[in-house]
């Protein structure tokens, strides 16, 4: 794998740090006029999502991490693994619960997700920004209320719970923004 020097640390670069693959968030060059140059770096550990702050001497290096993002279709869950497929090539990958993590509550079969591979193994899964899911349970709405102010909880087919306007009913399909976990609209079928 390539070796990167502090001056090549750009946002999004994937490097190995303390044994884990990380993504560079920010890199600031700090140097007094008459002193040692440092780089103050913020990295995200791609295994656990934690943000780390470290300072390096300018010119220090880190090994690149073999991390790639690929679009894959979610196929099914066998109880232990979640299976994904690259649509063009039919290559299949199985992700464990650590990799799937919070994305699990948005995963609907056949939706296309971004699967991050580290050395060819799924490291994390990002659901589509918007998903369309059916409500399996929500309190009956109060007649005449169309404002959506306030709202009520609704359980979706994947198990996720989102707040929906009072007029939305069980068995309706809704569009959800997965980044915020928020209701967007009803979907007319």
């Amino acid at each position: 794998m390539a070796i990167y020097s502090t001056n090549e640390f750009k946002g999004g670069l994937k490097v190995m740090f303390d044994g884990d693959p990380c993504s560079i968030i920010e890199n600031e060059f700090v140097k007094p006029g008459k002193g040692q140059a440092f780089n103050r770096v913020r990295l995200r550990n791609l295994k656990n999502g934690r943000v780390i702050e470290r300072t390096f001497k300018s010119g220090e290096t880190l090994e690149g991490a073999d991390v790639v993002d690929r679009d894959m279709q979610y196929l099914y869950n066998d109880g232990e693994f979640w299976h994904f497929m690259v649509v063009d090539t039919f290559e299949q990958y199985s992700a464990d619960s650590n990799a799937v993590s919070d994305a699990v509550k948005w995963l609907k079969e056949q939706d296309v997700c971004v699967v991050t591979l580290w050395n060819g193994v799924p490291l994390s899964v990002a659901p589509p920004n918007f998903v369309e899911l059916k409500i399996i349970e929500t309190d009956p709405g109060i007649r005449g209320d169309t404002s959506g102010g306030g709202g009520k909880p609704a359980t979706l087919e994947t198990g996720a719970v989102v707040r929906v306007p009072l007029f939305v009913q069980t068995d309706e399909v809704i569009r959800v923004d997965t980044r915020k976990g928020e209701y967007v609209s009803r979907v007319k079928e």
């Binding site: 700090v30 140059a37 440092f38 390096f56």
Partner: protein
Amino acid sequence: MSESAGLPIDWRPGCSLAVLQKRAWMLARIRSYFERQRVMEVETPTLCHTIGTDPNLDFFSTELKFEGSSDDQILYLQTSPEYSMKRLLAAGSGSIYQICKAYRNGEFGRWHNPEFTILEWYRVGYDLDLLIEDINRLLGQALGLSRPGQESERISYRQAFIRHCGFDPLSAGIAEFINYCEQVGDLSALALCGNDRRLWQEYLFGLRVQPHLGKTGLCFVTNYPANQCAMARIRADDPRFADRIEVFYGGVELANGFGELNCEQEQRKRFQRDLKIRAETGKTLPPIDERFLAALAAGFPDCSGVAVGLDRLLMLLMNLSSLDEVLTFSLPRA
């Protein structure tokens, strides 16, 4: 250059018209200040046969070629106009100032660009107290960096360090530096600084002290430890300190000044010490500037001098957050 991926080429300057106008105003203001003060403007070469030896400054070099000759000469782009200006002082110029470009290799970021504009001036017969007043008049008043009623602050290096880190950087053992970093959850410092006191001082000053300096006006930090003397005299009354000041505003390092070292032998020792460090760290070894040393030996006037980063000054005057916004074409656009 070819277009990449069909994107239009970004040919426009990084700064706005208002910034261009402010820079022109700033330069005119500086020149009129020094004219009133009877300090003479000078020009010295940016391309020279020698270069500073500072182990922390990397320089650009190039070759001078004469057609038909195989004897190429190496020339260096100046990291500051200091040596040339001091040769003028030794030759009897009296107080002088210069606005010029300076070049430092490998320095790039929000606060750095490898090519930048320096204002450097020397006041014959001034000590650092008088120089501080001078800097205040120019930066604070003539250029309006201090708002009405804002007082500039003056604090010693040691006091500033104690105020923000809680311990004395001169008397503390390395264990105290390590202990402090553990307390504040800094996991990088030990591996970086090891047993090097000066590096510990620089690291903590830069990351933990500097961001607090000059929050309410110009902040003058005085009495730098002798191990960070650069080209300043060591204080005769207390050799633990050097006659060096730094000026900070809004947490940004803006200027560096010295009660100028005028002893040729001491200067030669410092050059040799720098070159030894450069050799140990595998950096190129430039020739020592014998003309500069000869000028010191010939009789250098008692003076103080200071260099100000004008691009940073413009950034602070306009309340902007990166040099790209005040340079016409910063490195990626140049």
